[in-house]
Chain length 401, copies 2
């Protein structure tokens, strides 16, 4: 649903919507004829919510497409992830909680190894330690290029964040990463005329970086990708008329929420800590996004049984959430992370939408196969969940007379 279509229908109300995202919720059977993690879990409270609500499986992007966390969250927030694409640089800044200003240009950097002729021999510099990375970032941050301020922050292993700040910068600069060993790093080149000056400034930085790093054994050069600026997207509040709060333990998810204008509350990586924050701010907002990371992490680790335990842990807290008396509750994941794949996957994600005014379907079990029969169907576009939540919160006027 286009924002231009939804926005004029939005009307004020006192109702509250809760979006509980169990990251990487969807799974796969661990063995032939077996059950998925969610099917194997004992989830009486989620099952009750399913029985009283409507359910189905959503697709963040489309059939067969495995989403990254950025696009999948944007879809859950109601933003078409094919239209609203986040640059790698901005996402990297979100991921380490670096506060970008409007006008900053961010890039994801890799330390790499080049030989004496300047040819890349390892695009990841042997995956140097994060500690070594941090030391090198301190050195690089000392580089001075007239006209800009430079920020270099370690991310993990060989990856760092570069941010340049100054007047009239542009994100229209092409990657310097040749994407292959055996080639030299590329010059920063503008992708359109307004990127010329920024590209020149970046080339000065890169030259100086090469000098600073030249005696390093492994990390003796840098590659830059995904030059990007804070996007000028419509804000969540402007589109949906909701004063919104995000509660998450990981900077990336808070960063994504910040991109659409939510107020963010960092928490410990513990559900009880997150629920404490939720309770504390319950009176202050119309919309709450609560992000639970642990189930996805267990999936990435390939730990089928830990996923089951963590799902059961979330289930046990559902009564506490319902005690807050939300008007609309959505429980879902941002994507699937089946333990047997140890990675994000394309499989549709179970979703419950509960409200006083939903029309319950016949499903009474929150699990992948059961949700196929739910009234949201087996491949509901994730981006349509927000309009449905607004409707159930009695926050949408009718369309046409």
């Amino acid at each position: 649903m286009d924002f231009d279509f939804i926005k004029p229908l939005v009307k004020p109300a006192k109702t509250k919507i809760l979006l509980l995202v169990m990251d990487g919720l969807g799974g796969l059977p661990a063995e032939k004829d077996g059950e998925t993690e969610l099917e194997a879990a004992n989830t009486p409270n989620l099952d009750q919510l399913t029985e009283q609500g409507i359910c189905g499986l959503h697709e963040p992007i489309g059939p067969g497409i495995t989403p990254g966390s950025g696009p999948s969250h944007l879809a859950l927030f109601g933003y078409d992830p094919q239209k609203y694409q986040i640059g790698r640089g901005v996402l990297a800044a979100s991921g380490i909680d670096f506060e970008l200003n409007s006008g900053d240009v961010a890039a994801r950097g890799n330390f790499c190894t080049v030989d004496k002729g300047g040819v890349v021999t390892d695009r990841r510099a042997g995956r140097i330690s994060t500690e070594k990375n941090a030391e090198l970032c301190v050195l690089l941050e000392k580089i001075s290029v007239p006209g800009i301020e430079i920020f270099i922050k370690p991310v993990k292993e060989h990856r760092f964040l570069l941010v340049i700040r100054g007047a009239d910068l542009s994100e229209h600069v092409l990657d310097t990463d040749p994407q292959a060993v055996g080639e030299k790093p590329l010059e920063a080149k503008p992708s359109s005329a307004d990127g010329e000056r920024t590209a020149a400034l970046l080339n000065t930085f890169i030259e100086k970086a090469a000098t600073v790093l030249k005696d390093q054994h492994l990390a003796n050069m840098v590659l830059l990708r995904g030059f990007s600026m804070l996007p000028g997207w419509p804000k969540f509040h402007e589109v949906f008329g909701l004063k919104s709060a995000a509660i998450a333990a990981y900077p990336m998810y808070l960063g994504l929420a910040k991109l659409v204008g939510m107020k963010t509350y960092p928490s410990e990586n513990k559900i009880d800590d997150e629920l404490e924050i939720l309770k504390k701010h319950w009176a202050d907002f119309d919309f709450f996004y609560v992000h639970i990371k642990s189930i996805d992490s267990a999936g990435e680790d390939g730990d089928y049984f830990r996923r089951i335990r963590l799902i059961e842990e979330v289930d046990s807290r559902i009564p506490l959430i319902r005690q807050l008396d939300p008007d609309v509750v959505i429980v879902t994941g941002d994507h699937s992370t089946p333990a047997i794949l140890k990675a994000h996957s394309w499989h549709p994600v179970p979703v419950i939408l509960w409200s006083k005014y939903c029309r319950p379907d016949s499903v009474d079990r929150f699990a992948e196969r059961a949700c196929v029969s739910g009234s949201l169907g087996p491949h509901f576009p994730a981006v349509d969940l927000m309009p449905l939540a607004l409707a159930n919160a009695l926050r949408l006027d009718k369309f046409g007379a």
Copy 2:
């Protein structure tokens, strides 16, 4: 999913995808409260595949739209059939295995009857025999028009193929068929400026054709439709990264596969011959399209029971296919051809997608009503099957970080 979106996500793998198309698979009950052909058939092997895989019903074009074989196959190949439209001329060439060169202009021709005043009295020339048609084509092919080479090939009854070959030809020419009796054939007129010369060449041909045919009793004039050239579409391999082979008995299906760049293997109109070819070339390709015509032909003949027998015959060969150890198997039709309609129909088409990494749904019977409950849902867009197949073959990177 747009090709521009999918293409950057495609990654190489060693997995193999098999698309088995049972032409005209979908059916209707022969009587009130009865079973469809597929429901009545005994299909233990397809049922097992359904049980282990995911299923549903696909729509080649959209709700209520009865597809021709061209668009429905393009959809199965992942090409949006509304965007990638094949001209009638090119389709006619495919149908009789005429090898078009790039730059040729093809048209579908009808022999027709005109009265002394040149007014059309029968647009199909009394449906003359194919033999008579062939004789007349020999005469027409002798016509010489300076600047072009002319090919005239019989199709069936009153229908023939016209191909002109030469420098700087254009497909931008309007039909000469007035689409009604009581009117004169139209002149060939350009639909845009670059069609002017081609239209003039065609008018010279038409004039000479009228002279050649003037003493014929029935077929004394020609009508031309669907001027078209080989389209410059993205090739299947470029978009999906799959080295692909098509195995079919009928030229039209091989022609369609050729249009998207598949390597084609003509076979006898027998499933065992097709499977023999499949086995022989199994090591050489990533993607195999196998087309089985007979079930559609039985539908066009209105033969309900022959359809059942032929479906059962295909079922009995499924174990042979699975012995080849494909990574992804799709079994479906290109459209429905219910015996009681004796024609293509708009009804959604049963489809199974099986892979090691699919998330099985609860359906264990390959039949129209059962597939409504499958996790692909009751109206899955056929064009989305290819991205889903690629995902299941672990051939797609994730979208966004």
